[in-house]
């Protein structure tokens, strides 16, 4: 069971009007018209616009080097830096993951923007981000269930580009997956296409734990996700 692949329909995910309102800056349920109406319209269309796919590879041959703050997975060195090394130091295995909402939702957003429908275009963009995060939440929950059944636990997720880990290291991360896995490709500048995609690692072991809200670890004070998800298990720093 080295490589696991998942496919989701939009209605299997938990993407609500409330959560979209939250990421647009409003208190859930408090966004004035026409926002709720437009959010509902986008959510109703989302089903046809998405190709939600993701997956992970589990590797057992790993080592965490606390001196030079690196992670060694199957002979590949990742320079994850201090914060992530600390969070993963007790892991015995790791799951490298990728996930995408597919290209449709971003294309739709671009089209709307181009036509001058700025608000709906922006809402579609936010919905796309939430779809990929929410799909990854589901994949992570499944991984957690499987590991728990073996008496193991998992950590939060950590992504290249966060907490000092260079976004360029995605090149190494992608080398663990078959080409075009889930329809995701990586450009030379380490941009994933489709744009609504995420990548990273999750620690696995007897002595690791999910901490949930990890924003306090990160120094990105202007992040729009900061403080917003404290009530939900959040994996973005």
């Amino acid at each position: 069971m080295e490589l696991q692949e998942y496919n989701y329909r939009f209605d299997e995910l938990e993407v609500s009007t409330d959560i979209i309102e939250k990421f647009m800056g409003y208190q859930p349920g408090q966004a004035p018209e026409p926002m709720p109406q437009l959010i509902r319209e986008v959510l109703n269309q989302a089903h046809d616009l998405c190709d939600i796919r993701g997956g992970y590879v589990i590797k057992q041959d790993i080592a965490v080097n606390r001196d030079d703050k690196t992670l060694h997975i199957h002979g590949v060195e990742f320079d994850v830096k201090k914060i992530i090394t600390n969070q993963l130091k007790k892991m015995d295995a790791t799951a490298l993951f990728v996930c995408t909402a597919g290209p449709g939702i971003s294309n739709y957003s671009k089209e709307l923007m181009h036509e001058g429908d700025f608000i709906k275009g922006y809402i579609a963009d936010v919905v796309g981000s939430e779809i990929v995060e929410s799909a990854m939440d589901k994949i992570q929950a499944d991984l957690e269930n499987q590991m728990e059944s073996q008496g193991l636990h998992i950590t939060d997720r950590y992504s290249p580009g966060y907490c000092g880990w260079s976004v360029g290291e995605q090149q190494k991360l992608f080398s663990f997956f078959p080409q075009d896995f889930c329809g995701i490709t990586l450009t030379a500048s380490s941009l994933m296409q489709p744009i609504k995609s995420v990548s990273g690692v999750i620690g696995i072991g007897e002595n690791v734990r999910r901490k949930g809200y990890v924003c306090n670890l990160c120094d990105m004070v202007n992040c729009i996700y900061r403080e917003k998800k404290e009530t939900k298990k959040a994996d973005r720093c």
Binding site: P34, A188, S189, L191
Partner: protein, 222 residues
Amino acid sequence: MEELYGKIAHCVEFGKINLASPYPPDMKGQEGADELTKKAIDEGFPPEEVLKKGLVVGMEKIGVKFRENKVFVPQVLMSAKAMSTAMEHLRPFFESGAVKRKGIFVIGTVAGDLHDIGKNLVSMMVKGSGFEVVDLGTDVNGQQFIEAIKQHPGCYVGLSALLTTTMVNMEKIVAEIKAAVPDTKILIGGAPVSEEFKEKIHADFYSRDPQGAVDFLNRSVA
């Protein structure tokens, strides 16, 4: 006269597009930027004043509120929509040359990067302050910027990047532009970009928000 300008500015600031628009809730059933701008033009108000004392004032106010985190992206977009709807009534005057733009701003997301929401926001705010904006889209390389600069001599240029890996392309593009058209003023922005990075790559201005770009451009053409 001043009262109508004030009303137009208010509509833009609060994103009141037109009579039919339900937003903002406390202006439901009232005329919006669309109707009021048309009224001003129909009544013979100088179009230049309608722009500068009405529309631009409203956009400036929302830009400042956004910078101060008092409003969020959707409110800015509502204002931009109100502004662009009203601008349709001014279009003939721009085309005839009766009303002049403050200058031209060429913007694009740099090569290797496809993010565009932030770039679009900057583009809308700069347009809303009275500049003509040429949006080259995403994944734009140095050559494409240079061609646009040659087509619009004297224009200002904005570069946007959202990843540290594409931010480095800014350095290359800035060098290429400065070599081809040395006097070009280049503004940079995007989540990972900073003042120090601006210094390092010899760009002319950095701002973390669109209003900073507007202020810089206004100062430059003053």
